[in-house]
Symmetry: C2
Subunit: 156 residues, 2 copies
């Protein structure tokens, strides 16, 4: 495996948009995915989101998409909106590399917390996060809201 | 009543910090409020959050604190993190002015959605949002996650 983790550029947006579509299909909600590629391009230029991509042989095989948010009780928080590895490339450590690169971004920005949500039937994802000792903040509709305090975790 | 709604400046941060403390007390969770005023100052300068304040006779009597987030399915979303009017100044329309100014900010930034959360025992807040026709996106722990599609609402 020769996978590079790097910040996404505008050239990666078609691949990112396609991965989000595949994630929407996996979450059984493709009809709710209405943002088009031009919207992504304009919003990325404006800084509305950032992403890390995992690239292998010129192909994007995974990505973590995030943005800065704020907890008025705790301080800066990096929110992981989407996190996906192509199905055929799973279980090879790419998710771990991406997730750890995301945590590194949060530390670089002096964030106090990272946060993300998981559907409760997504067992592989839940197992993945449990290995990181992530805290479940709240039960939510058909999923869980995870919250990790960067200052208390050892793994960063 | 002579209330002005305007964007917050750094000089408003002590009042905003105090309002967040009062909100944490109202939500029975003051011990979880650990961010200090210096943290607010540094994070506000960096653009981690923005706020609108309601000012009356030189005093901040309410505020709406928000930041830009992203829905990879829909596009740009303005997230209302904290929204509070001083108890003695409630039921006088200040909340309505603030909330509508927040919606105007979302429209100005070409956001597709606005989003916020409410504790389910906060009946006055729930009633307030119901009047705006806000959609409840998800049930969550001890509250609700509201989501409004700006393109479908008439009230903006």
């Amino acid at each position: 495996m020769n996978v590079t983790i790097r910040p996404a550029t505008e050239a990666d947006l078609p691949a990112i948009h396609q991965l989000v579509r595949e994630l929407a299909i996996y979450e059984r909600a493709e009809e709710q995915f209405t943002a088009d590629l031009d919207t992504y391009r304009a919003d990325f230029r404006e800084g509305a989101f950032e992403a890390l991509v995992a690239e292998e042989g010129g192909t994007v095989v995974g990505m973590a998409l995030y943005y800065l948010t704020y907890s008025t009780w705790k301080g800066k928080m990096l929110y992981l909106e989407d996190f996906v590895v192509r199905p055929e490339r799973r279980r090879q450590g790419i998710g771990r590399f991406l997730f750890e690169a995301f945590l590194t971004q949060a530390v670089k920005r002096d964030c106090r917390l990272v946060k993300w949500q998981v559907l409760d039937w997504n067992t592989p994802a839940l197992r993945f996060y449990e290995r990181y000792g992530a805290l479940i903040e709240r039960e939510w509709w058909n999923g869980k809201i995870f919250l990790s305090d960067l200052k208390k975790n050892e793994f960063v």
